[in-house]
Each structure stands twice: as structure tokens, then as C-alpha cells.
């Protein structure tokens, strides 16, 4: 069996072969692993990899699993399933192209109105969560097409708070 797994935006091909009731052999890049596991509970997998034991903590999400091992976390998803459940994660990275809050938050102030011309980096909405205010900036030069929120609205990551139509010099890049 072959898995194609996505770890933090990098795709790994993993060849897996069952061995025994709770074991498997896996090949990642050119590395071979002999693994056994105990399903301790819904969130804990006890692994024995080439004789060395390690505890992994697992939390299933809509589109993958968060794996925590020795204090570090990885988000692992099945690359072959990606896209079937929507691409919610897209656009949430640092190269943000939309005016959307980084965390669930409340809108504190809206600094623009429909028809306003905005410059890249101009503050357009201020949101607040957990005593911290965050200003959301225009991702590019543009024209405010629509303001989708008012002060006091509760908003989530992925919600587009302000629609901005690009007018800047690099607007063609967006088309690809």
C-alpha cells in the first residue's frame, strides 16, 4: 500500500506493508522503518520504531491529524484526499491574500467603506481576541468592493471581512 502524505505543505510518499497484527514496514524516501504500535487510547499511539519506543499523541481534524511527539507538533494529511473536503486551509498561510482574521475574533473597528481606494499594507479592519487587538491590512493596492462586517461581529479565520479588487501593477499575477 502506498500513502501520499502532506506534512506542513511537503508531500511524502510512504510505502507501507503490513507485518503482523500490530506492525508494519514503511519506506520513506530511502529510509526503511520497522514499526509496531499499540493503540493506547483515542489520542495516544505507542510506537516501537526499529526497537526504539516513542509516544505519539494524535488529534483528528476535519482534513488531517495533528501529531504531537516529544513536544513538537506536525499536521499530517492524506494528500490523495485533499481537495475532496474543500481547501479550507488554503490562503491561511503567511502569504495571505485576503482580509481574514488569523483567529476567531470580534471586530473592533472597520476603517474603510465601499468604494475606498486602499494601498497595500493599509489597515482596514481591527479585530480583537483574548485581550489582543490585531489590525488586518490590505494585501494589495485596490478598491474596496464590499465591507462584509460591522463593529461587534464575531468572525472566524477564512471569513472574508472586506472584498478588495486589485488595482496594483501585479494584478496579472493573481490570474494564474
Amino acid at each position: 500500500m502506498e500513502y501520499r502524505l502532506n506534512v506542513n505543505e511537503e508531500i511524502f510518499s510512504v510505502e507501507v506493508e503490513n507485518s503482523g497484527k500490530h506492525g508494519f514496514r514503511a519506506r520513506i524516501r530511502d529510509q526503511e522503518y520497522d514499526a509496531e504500535y499499540v493503540h493506547v487510547d483515542d489520542h495516544q499511539i505507542h510506537l516501537k520504531v526499529d526497537g526504539r519506543r516513542v509516544n505519539a499523541y494524535v488529534c483528528g481534524q476535519d482534513d488531517g491529524k495533528i501529531i504531537s511527539i516529544r513536544g513538537r507538533c506536525w499536521f499530517v494529511s492524506d494528500a490523495d484526499l485533499a481537495g475532496q473536503k474543500g481547501t479550507r486551509k488554503k490562503g491561511l498561510g503567511p502569504g495571505l491574500q485576503e482580509v481574514t482574521p488569523p483567529m476567531p475574533a470580534v471586530v473592533i473597528a472597520v476603517a474603510v467603506r465601499e468604494g475606498d481606494v486602499v494601498e497595500k499594507g493599509q489597515g482596514v479592519v481591527v479585530v480583537s481576541a483574548m485581550k489582543m487587538e490585531t489590525t488586518l491590512f490590505a494585501p494589495y493596492d485596490g478598491l474596496v468592493k464590499k465591507v462584509n462586517v460591522c463593529e461587534g461581529d464575531k468572525v472566524m479565520p477564512g471569513d472574508i471581512l472586506v472584498d478588495i479588487e486589485k488595482t496594483g501593477p501585479d494584478s496579472e499575477i493573481e490570474a494564474e
Binding site: A26, I28, K131, M132
Partner: protein, 497 residues
């Protein structure tokens, strides 16, 4: 001693106060908002009173509702924790009027020390060194410029009220002055309802070192050594330790005496913290007094063996301090890491949500002051602190090793936390060297990203979990979704009939 007290707070600090009350045989009343119905502090208290809407002004900041809850439940005193109403002198006044003891300093002391200008004057008058700068509020940017030229740039424009890093601007040149004054004043006005600002010297390579003090109602005032709190992000501490890596017995003696003088000058009663800036030449300057229990108080408890909440309760009910200065000494080294629901990869933005799974580290010398559990929702209405991990060992190096190992065993899944970030900071040469200034994170870890090189184990865990899940579903199908009885699940094992 009090028979019952109310804790006007939430999260880890409410739980921590309740723990000491339980040891002392004091009944506890928790208060909570609609967002906190199943919060840990509600589950561990003897009684709990709902205050209403999640919005802090409707709940944890609502003085009338909290005092009414104390009256209604027969609580004799209110512990404010930190944040919320802990440094609100009007609340203390209202407690006094209602005949409920406020576990903290008198209203007048909080009022004086809460105003940075008044505090600076009290300290200057009693010979405690203060940072160079103004001792009165100033609205005129031109006057600010003159003063800045006198003491030298960079300078700090600071709100006279409040704290928590709000209403503060660093000014590097006279050109930036007018804008900085205007925005600091605006931020202070909206955060604290008071837009007064003043100016003081900004030290680029400064350490933040504070002294814990305790004072009873009979004029006995002691200090409980220092805490080093230089590792900060957004002017908020994330790692604290004691003793400070730069402390010498002579400097400790000098600063400790200044801290006690500062507390006495302000007429201080109960537990408080005198904060100092220490420059590269070990000159120290009074910064402010925090008139409450600090978030980082556990490191002091670890090395002194003194329960600060117990001391607060003793003092508040009118008992004499059971310790004098000569009884207080530190043993070993303690470090605290704050575990917030936040994303260290993304500017430390808050990360509220459901904690899908939590596993706390434990072992000799490990303490975790925790306010959450597996399955609880971390609401976005409040400060994102989840817990504080504290370790105690014989030396600083041993404490660092213990902390790294404890962090490795700390599992928080569902919300983002800085656990991996803290591990990297603790394990860094820069931290080990003890050259820790308030700009430490910006200098060494400004563009931190988690190590992802060793993803193979995560991949194997993913696959194992998939396999375990498919086995489980397989079982379910054979059982035709019937509810399994022990007779089916026990397998070959049978009770000894």
C-alpha cells in the same frame, strides 16, 4: 482565619488559589461567565455563582455582581487573582463598603502605585532610584522632545495608567515624537480611560528583575528574593526564573533593601512585587509596583518554600507575618514557562478553540499550575494563558534540563501553544549563557519556525493511527453497531465466579 472566600477570577490562578484554600480548610466560591460553565475553576470549587455574559464587563469585571455573589454565599473575603479587578482601587473601596475583605493592598495604595507618576514621586522622595525621565504627565510633544534630548534617545513614551504593554511607544528620534505621543495617548485612553502619558529613558540592553515583597498590617515588611523576567514578547513575560543569572549577594542585598523601602514608602500591605530595570552596569531603577499576586509567583514559592497565597490570606485576615527576613532564603533554581494558547510561528496571535487532548508532565521538581483539561473550550473573550509549567532543581543548568524534558512530555493538542518554541529557547546557547535581556526574543528568535526535519516519526504515527482506526471500525461492523457488553469486550478473561 476566613471560613469561606470568593475567588474573583478564572483559569489557572483561580484553581491555584482554591488549592491553597483547600489545604487551609477554607471553603471556596468560584464565579464564572456563560463562556466558562465547565471551566476547571468552576469544577474544583465548593460553590460557584454564574455572573452572566462572557463579556468581561458583564462578568469578571462586574463589581456589583461579584460583591453580591460574595454576600449571597457568605464569603468573608475576595481573592482577585491577577488581571481583572486585582488592581482596581474602586473595587477595593466597594468591598470595604460592603464589609467584604479584599485580599490585597488597601485602596489608597493601589491608587497611588497604579498611577506611574505618583509611584515615581513616592520612590524618588524615599531615595529609591527611578529611571531618568519626567515625574509629571505631559501632553506637549515639544516638552517631551526637550526632556528626551536631555536624557538621550531612545526614550519610552508611557501611559501613566494601566499596564500590560499598552500605551507604550519607543521613540528613537525627535521626528517620531509627535506621532508616538499621539498614538500612545490614544491607546491608553481607549484601554484605561485615561490618556495621560509621560516620558522615561529606554534601556536597550536592560534586564527586568523584580522582588517579591510581603507586608502585614503591623508594619512588618520582607522581601522574598528576586525573579528574573527578561524573556518577553509584546512586553509580556513568557519565561521567568529565580535566582537571576546576574545576581550577586551584594546586589541582592541592595535591591532587596530598595524593594522593602519602596513597599514601606507606599504603605504597602499584603503581597506585591517591586519591578526594577537593571542596566548593563548593574545599575537598577524602579519601574513599578504590581499590587497583586504575580503570574510568575510560583518560582519564588519553589525556592523559598513559602506559599504566597497562604501568606496573602494570613495577612488579609489580620495575622502577623509568620516569617522575618532572616528566615527567608532561596534553595536551588526555579524556572517558569507560560503556556498560552497562541501561535509562536505567527506573531504569537491568540489561538482559542477546543483542547482536544491534554497531558501534563509530572515528576520530581515539576509543577504545572493549570486551568484547563482535555475537551474544554478555550474562550476567545479572555487572556489566553492555559497553564504555567514550573520546575525546581539544584542549579540553573539542571533546571533548564528538567524544563526541556518536562516540555517534551507536555501534550496540548487542539489549540496552538508555544511548547516547541519554549523548548528551543530553553535549549539555546543564548539562554544557557544567561545573557537575557528584554529584547531576547527579538534578538534571537524573531523568525522562529519549528523544526520539521524529523517528520518521519509523525508519518509513522499517522499510519499507525489509520491502521488502528480501521481495525476499530472493522470490529464495529462485526458487532453490527450493537452496544458492546463486557461479556463481548472482555475476550478470554472471565471474572472469578
Amino acid at each position: 482565619m476566613f471560613k469561606k472566600i470568593l475567588i474573583a477570577n478564572r483559569g489557572e490562578i483561580a484553581v491555584r488559589v482554591i488549592n491553597t484554600c483547600r489545604e487551609m480548610g477554607i471553603q471556596t466560591v468560584a464565579v464564572y461567565s456563560d463562556a466558562d460553565k465547565t471551566a476547571l475553576h468552576v469544577l474544583v470549587a465548593d460553590e460557584a455563582v454564574c455572573l452572566g455574559d462572557a463579556e468581561p464587563t458583564q462578568s469578571y469585571l462586574n463589581m456589583e455582581k461579584i460583591i453580591a455573589a460574595a454576600k449571597e454565599t457568605g464569603a468573608e473575603a475576595i481573592h482577585p487573582g491577577y488581571g481583572f479587578l486585582s488592581e482596581n482601587s474602586r473595587f477595593v473601596g466597594k468591598c470595604d463598603q460592603a464589609g467584604v475583605v479584599f485580599i490585597g493592598p488597601p485602596a489608597q495604595v493601589i491608587r497611588d502605585l497604579g498611577d506611574k507618576i505618583t509611584a515615581r514621586r513616592i520612590m524618588a522622595d524615599s531615595g529609591v532610584p527611578i529611571t531618568p525621565g519626567l515625574t509629571s504627565a505631559e501632553a506637549d510633544a515639544a516638552v517631551m522632545r526637550t526632556e528626551a534630548e536631555k536624557i538621550g534617545y531612545p526614550v519610552l513614551i508611557k501611559a501613566t495608567a494601566g499596564g500590560g504593554g499598552k500605551g507604550i511607544r519607543i521613540v528613537h528620534s525627535s521626528a517620531e515624537m509627535a506621532d508616538a505621543c499621539a498614538s500612545a495617548a490614544r491607546e491608553a485612553k481607549s484601554a484605561f480611560g485615561n490618556g495621560d502619558i509621560y516620558l522615561e529613558k529606554f534601556f536597550t540592553n536592560a534586564r527586568h528583575i523584580e522582588f517579591q515583597v510581603l507586608a502585614d498590617q503591623f508594619g512588618n515588611t520582607v522581601h522574598l528574593l528576586e525573579r528574573e523576567c527578561s524573556v518577553q514578547r509584546r512586553h509580556q513575560k513568557i519565561i521567568e526564573e529565580t535566582p537571576s543569572p546576574i545576581m550577586t549577594p551584594a546586589l541582592r542585598e541592595k535591591m532587596g533593601r530598595a524593594a522593602v523601602t519602596a513597599a514601606r514608602a507606599a504603605g504597602y500591605v499584603n503581597a506585591g512585587t517591586v519591578e526594577f530595570l537593571v542596566d548593563e552596569n548593574n545599575n537598577f531603577y524602579f519601574l513599578e509596583v504590581n499590587t497583586r499576586l504575580q503570574v510568575e509567583h510560583p518560582v519564588t514559592e519553589m525556592i523559598t518554600g513559602i506559599d504566597l497565597v497562604r501568606m496573602q490570606l494570613e495577612i488579609a485576615c489580620g495575622n502577623k507575618l509568620p516569617v522575618s527576613q532572616k528566615d527567608i532564603f532561596g534553595r536551588g533554581h526555579a524556572i517558569e514557562c507560560r503556556i498560552y494558547a497562541e501561535d509562536p510561528e505567527n506573531g504569537f496571535v491568540p489561538s482559542p478553540g477546543k483542547i482536544a487532548y491534554l497531558k501534563e508532565p509530572s515528576g520530581p521538581g515539576i509543577r504545572n499550575d493549570c486551568g484547563v483539561y482535555s475537551g474544554v473550550d478555550v474562550p476567545m473573550a479572555y487572556d489566553p494563558i492555559l497553564s504555567k509549567l514550573i520546575v525546581h532543581a539544584r542549579t540553573r543548568d539542571l533546571a533548564i534540563a528538567k524544563m526541556v524534558a518536562a516540555l517534551q512530555r507536555y501534550v496540548v493538542v487542539g489549540v496552538k501553544t508555544p511548547v516547541a518554541f519554549l523548548m528551543d529557547v530553553l535549549a539555546s546557547d543564548a539562554f544557557a549563557g544567561g545573557n537575557v535581556f528584554t529584547n531576547f526574543i527579538d534578538t534571537h528568535f524573531s523568525s522562529w519556525h519549528p523544526e520539521t526535519g524529523d517528520a518521519d516519526l509523525a508519518l509513522l504515527a499517522f499510519i499507525a493511527d489509520e491502521m488502528a482506526a480501521s481495525r476499530k471500525t472493522g470490529q464495529k461492523i462485526s458487532g453490527e453497531d450493537a452496544i458492546l457488553t463486557p461479556w463481548q469486550t472482555l475476550g478470554a478473561w472471565r471474572p472469578g465466579l
